[in-house]
Symmetry: C2
Subunit: 121 residues, 2 copies
Amino acid sequence: MSECQREKEHACALERAIACMPTEEGIEAMSGAFKAMSEPSRLKILLALTQGELCVYHLVQAVGGTQSAVSHQLRILREGKIIRARRDGQNVVYSLADGHVAQLLQTAYEHLSCKGGEEDA
Amino acid sequence: MSECQREKEHACALERAIACMPTEEGIEAMSGAFKAMSEPSRLKILLALTQGELCVYHLVQAVGGTQSAVSHQLRILREGKIIRARRDGQNVVYSLADGHVAQLLQTAYEHLSCKGGEEDA
DNA sequence: ATAATATATGAACAAGTATTCATATATTGA
DNA sequence: TCAATATATGAATACTTGTTCATATATTAT
């Protein structure tokens, strides 16, 4: 019963934390979106697509790496409904699937990209 | 030289994509932040901490799992400067390290958590 | 000092996954 | 149909990582 003391110390934050916690599906949805952007190779692809739709060949030029590696990552993003594919003649043209990811990329880009890093003493 | 044709088709988007691409350090910073939030166990910890600082014991209650697993994830988040630790008597109290992550969590929470999912035909 | 509580951590193991290589599929032009 | 271009993908490999178990460290009270 010694933890009862602690129970009350920050009880309000704990209760709010429990109350605001999404369902498992919500957690999966959120972490899935973050996971899509958590690998450098995929993040580059997504950042490139914020500028407009691009075919695989151009994506390879924009992000580097081999065509095979890019295609594998494109499949992961496609299956996760993060991006959308459309055939255009010999090419397949990709674009971001919805605005949510674009918003997250924008927020991260503005907040993290331009700044070197913040050490706090 | 056959790709020259393609070079021009979407050249503007490709050029913008190349122009907007962050440095490798920028990419690492962004993907690192996303990676912190890409695992359900860590995401839960971070979401809980958006409600205020919490000690490990309370975090375990808020997010579930064993104390050891939570502590391991806390270490990863701590070393990545995503969260901050402060000792308070027998307890160690954790809090979010900066507002950037909170902003990303907020954006994701609003955009992804409450909605079931969007299938597009 | 000893016991109890709170947290951290090393080692081991199990999954998950990003890349490469080789090859398959699809589209276009001759 | 055949060749060329564009993209996708299966298998194998190497690497990363999340969890568990056992144990270590730190703080407090007696």
